[in-house]
Symmetry: C2
């Protein structure tokens, strides 16, 4: 969606380099659950209309608890999170790497190696099951190549831009807002900067996103900002369209062949609305969904996976009657508690979140409608399921100045990482904007129809032409909407003439008639509620959230993915290179394959401990060791990554157990209760 | 791969409009198995070195059986296959449709609707399990955007072209070879064409693929071929590069930003070879794999899904020692029988296939090596598993004139459809071509190393410089390969001088020394064996192979996908709109969801029979009906699509049963043996 234009601005409103919370401290967990309990109590009391006095002590308690929790989070943030170290692990284990780096690389392009690719595939698989299967959404796969006209209608040709300035000396190009932000933050950090100026700079910093080209140019000139590398003068800011252009077909300068690589997957869904509606037996509401690559020609991408030129998106378009935005399954999620940062708070300058259930959020009117609320809750459940930490997830509402004019409400799921709070999922109620525009442009009516139980009377306004010859004018008037017709009527009645399609039209030629018609069918352009996921950003956040270092050995890094998204589910290691092990390893591999479990065999000559450590770095949750006992009785050890605890289990059972652990239908606790512990130490030579 | 340049030429060598064989005639099946049995017998006799006389009667029998089978196939082909009818179904049920057709469409671009998208996803899921999981291949996800340099090195910038001619009047563009082919086939069909000329035209037709620009121009001029729509003169053929160009980054004319949308997924794998080799603990052989979109800017695409501008590929790059192409798991497939069309037969003008085991094919030398043979067999098993008909699948070897100069062997899996025999998978032994070129261009050594048990003596040729100043010349010489060095040596020894990098070099400045070195490590650029799948083509072929019309009702079309790839696994229908049914439907849906089974509910007001018929068109293999009996005892009927037989089953069991049927761990036969049949007729009002 065009929304991503705003969405993908990094809202770095709260940069804190948090220590990884791969292992959550118990006290923090205890505090969180206490806060939830007190919150519930207050809610119930409110429902029972308790007096203000009765409520006060509970509210005081809540405030104290929240303060304590904040202190712990701040303390954690002081344990410095070492991003460089994580990045070293990610590069070493080839989660991802700059694309074409043997050719010097291309900024903003990254390749996913085997663990990154598998992690992404598992996240997408879960996304499919959580959203598409659960709601029987209609998944489509539409083309990346998109003709000019479609993206002109959607507004991307005119408005999908960033402001760019040029180094007047060497021609280097910079994104204007980033250049100003970097300059401001350098000044703010500088001890020599006067306190009053610092205040001004801080204020300007909060406004950068709101400046247009002229305002940004004025500010850059006022502060005399120069090109950072050369110190040269810079040009005035100019809009740069962020779409990759290409030519479809062999005719080089044929305007019909002008096209782009799509900036989002949404337009392919909208343009197919009619077919999808028919496929759904013309039932409303329903949703379509698409997973696929989109492109954005960033001016000067940095920030790793968070700002790239090619990325995977997963987008849902939920079509709904504009006046019926309740949701039949809302009650299934209404008790989900989430952290909200509403527009009203941000406008007051507050950046602390409010925890409440989605039910309350909708009832209070903070979240516009049930369908939007339903999706916000489902997004929250999804992100937590794949391993995003609840306390580092918030839902931030768009303020009126960032929201598109047609949108009725918009929330971003922001995830905190060492880059700050980053928008990873946008969820907008886009009203009927896109379907209306495509309808208007193509004449293809992208509408839904509902039979009315009782017919309604509807005021209708229609042009009546007196002469048939005036083709262009007829076309223009027939394509007018109600408002435009009313305006034309007024003009004709007042002045006996009006301007249409460049021609002067008189009231002799056309008149506009208002009547009342009986309607048996309600025909409407559906509103669209759009949850839109940036998979790469979610994945990077998950990498940070999953990362920790073993307590007694700072060289042992672990990525503690939930088993269901872990890139590889199981490690298979022989204790040593002893010749009696390979047949058992072979049999084990066959067993795992037969259950479609992704596994990795590590029979290198390092110690078992070293091999486990190496594979902790790609987050393999379970490991099977074949040892001398295996040769005697076909039992193996099964190890869990985070606790490093091990059990002894028969080879015939182990594949089934790992399969159940991997799809989360069995917990490790249950396994340790059922099978004997194996206590031999990992030998770490 | 560059291979696809040839691969995606449609080899329309055997156009037959076959009747759909969705339901195979029993006699044909019997004949096939008889042929297999006789073939086996002959093979065994040969192994036991039977005499020619003893063999002859069996060979005669085999020839007779094959003739009978051919007759049946020809008879079937006369029952006309109605492509238009299938296409109507595919469009009506939104398997796929022209992209952006509300904007008039863009030729060569198609969108997949819900059933097409699900079918594709299921095929890819099975591909992952059959290839990637089974062999523990390293799956990657690399970028579509690719810089100029990479595709220049791979040869695509210079050679990924088609020849194009222009209508000199209106500027319309045509693919030159297709224009000639269409002209020739019109002349051949024309009754007025002289018999001798027809013979000439037929011969030229077989040669079209081999002509270069000049030859094609000569022929077009000789026959005075005109632009088909206007009758205008046409220009000389000129090469047109088939890659979509774009500019990466904001600098409009910066040559560093020149890029393309990839024409194949292979280069992203090759450029990451070093990281993948390290990820694999530097063990050889291994394979990488990638599934993703590729692009080809066709001059004038027709033929539906078979010739498109944007398509999904699945490519494997298997890296292997150039001299060790045996495969440890070859014995697991050596008895797989396949239909081969070797180069030698094609060169004799024969187009009938030879059935033999892949074991024999490799042993006889027809297939170059075990690894290549292993993949050919695995490809065959995969295609048959997803529902491609064995008798409409053949493996055609590239003839020497179509194979790239560096390839040691190449086979295409061709599938027969109403468009003829279409190449859907290419499997080439590309030797060390790509890795060598990237090594040469970037200086990054894309090599593998193996420790040698016994060191070997190796002849080494090296330059020795007498002066250090001559930088450019040193660089040039140090980058020379063995052959180039030998040539330089010769020139220096003969003439005391040679030309290097534009400079005159004398034997005083440099000498070339040949010595013997002891090597403890075998360093080599691996050979690559590449199976490369065109998923869209496979999918279209599968649609044709799965399509049939019910015997007693030509309006009832069925797509008989194997359950494992069927887009939707289960249909849920209430018998009627009776108010007692919805709670049971709701419960059923929850049960199916909990098992991750994709289902569709059809509670429209049509009769049950009509609803089943409608959903046969998207190939739903199983259907559950809730009727009045359900309200009494919670049993439902379960129906199988092809046999239309039904059983009565308890609601608590049905989700598990459908799950097992859908992943092919349970057969419908077994279900009918276990549960009571339900014999009530489908009411078809």
């Amino acid at each position: 969606m065009l929304g991503f234009e705003n969405q993908f601005l990094c809202h770095v409103t709260n940069i804190r380099t948090l220590a990884s919370v791969g292992k959550i401290m118990t006290t923090k967990e205890e505090l969180s659950s206490e806060i939830t309990a007190v919150g519930d109590r207050i809610r119930n009391m409110k429902l029972e209309k308790a007096s203000k006095e009765a409520l006060q002590p509970h509210i005081d308690q809540l405030v104290t608890l929240k303060k304590k929790l904040d202190e712990i989070i701040v303390a954690e943030s002081k344990k410095e999170f070492d991003r460089t170290k994580l990045e070293t692990v990610l590069r070493r284990r080839f989660f991802y790497a700059p694309a074409f780096d043997i050719y010097g690389g291309v900024s903003g392009l990254y390749d996913y190696g085997p663990p990154g690719c598998a992690l992404q595939a598992n996240i997408l698989q879960l996304w499919r099951s959580h959203f598409i299967l659960e709601e029987q959404m209609l998944e489509v796969d539409t083309t990346i190549l998109t003709p000019y006209d479609v993206l002109h209608t959607s507004g991307h040709v005119d408005r999908f831009t960033d402001l760019m300035v040029k180094d007047k000396g060497n021609g280097n190009l910079y994104r204007a807002d980033h250049l100003l932000e970097n300059w401001l933050s350098a000044q703010i950090k500088d001890v020599k900067t006067d306190a009053k100026l610092k205040e001004e700079y801080s204020y300007v910093m909060t406004q950068v996103d709101n400046y247009d080209a002229k305002e940004l140019g004025d500010i850059l000139r006022k502060y005399n900002v120069k090109a950072p590398e050369s110190g040269n003068d810079i040009s005035e800011p100019e809009p740069f369209n962020l779409m990759f252009k290409t030519q479809i077909g062999p005719a080089e300068h044929d305007s019909k062949g002008r096209g782009f690589m799509r900036p989002e997957t949404a337009q392919g869904q909208f343009t197919n609305f009619k077919k999808l509606y028919e496929y759904n037996n013309e039932r409303m509401p329903f949703a379509s969904a698409q997973i696929g690559k989109s492109f954005r020609n960033e001016i000067s991408p940095r920030a790793g996976l968070l700002r790239v030129r090619e990325f995977t998106m997963a987008e849902i378009e939920h079509y709904v009657h504009p006046n019926k935005k309740d949701h039949p399954r809302f009650r299934e999620v209404e008790n989900v508690i989430m952290s909200f940062l509403p527009a009203s708070e941000q406008e007051k300058g507050v950046s602390s979140t409010i925890d409440m259930t989605i039910g309350e959020a909708v009832r209070s009117g903070m979240v516009n409608n049930e369908t939007l609320g339903y999706f916000l809750a489902r997004i929250s459940l999804f992100l937590i399921k794949i391993g995003i930490k609840k306390e580092r997830l918030r839902f931030r509402q768009h303020m009126s100045n960032e929201m598109a004019h047609y949108a009725s409400d918009c929330w971003d799921a922001e995830i905190q990482s060492s880059y700050g709070w980053i928008e990873c999922v946008g969820c907008a109620d886009r009203s009927a904007y896109d379907l209306s525009n495509h309808t208007k442009r193509t004449g293809e009516r992208l509408v839904a129809r509902e039979k009315l139980d009782t017919p309604i009377q509807k005021n209708v306004i229609k042009p009546q032409f007196n002469k048939k010859e005036i083709g262009v004018i007829v076309d223009e008037i027939e394509n007018m909407n109600e408002c435009e017709l009313k305006e034309l009527k007024k003009s004709l009645e007042t002045n006996q003439r009006a301007k249409v399609a460049g021609f002067e039209v008189s009231s002799d030629m056309v008149s506009i008639v208002e009547t009342v018609e009986t309607c048996y069918v309600d025909e409407y352009i559906p509103s669209v509620i759009e949850p839109s996921f940036g998979i790469g950003r979610i994945m990077y956040s998950l990498l940070e959230h999953s990362y920790y270092v073993r307590e007694n050995d700072e060289n042992r890094c672990v990525l503690s993915f939930p088993p269901v998204v872990a890139p590889v589910k199981c490690l298979v290691v022989p204790l040593s290179g002893h010749p009696s092990f390979p047949p058992f390893i072979y049999e084990l591999c066959q067993l795992l394959r037969s259950k479609d479990i992704s596994f990795q065999k590590d029979d290198s000559s390092s110690s078992v401990g070293k091999r486990y450590a190496r594979n902790d770095e790609i987050g393999i949750p379970f490991g099977i060791t074949v040892d001398f006992q295996t040769v005697k009785d076909k039992t193996v050890t099964l190890r869990e990554r985070d606790s490093m605890s091990q059990v002894r289990i028969h080879m015939d059972q182990v594949a089934n157990i790992v399969a159940s652990l991997a799809n989360a239908t069995l917990s490790w606790n249950k396994v340790t209760e059922t099978f004997p512990a194996f206590v031999e130490q990992e030998i770490d030579n």
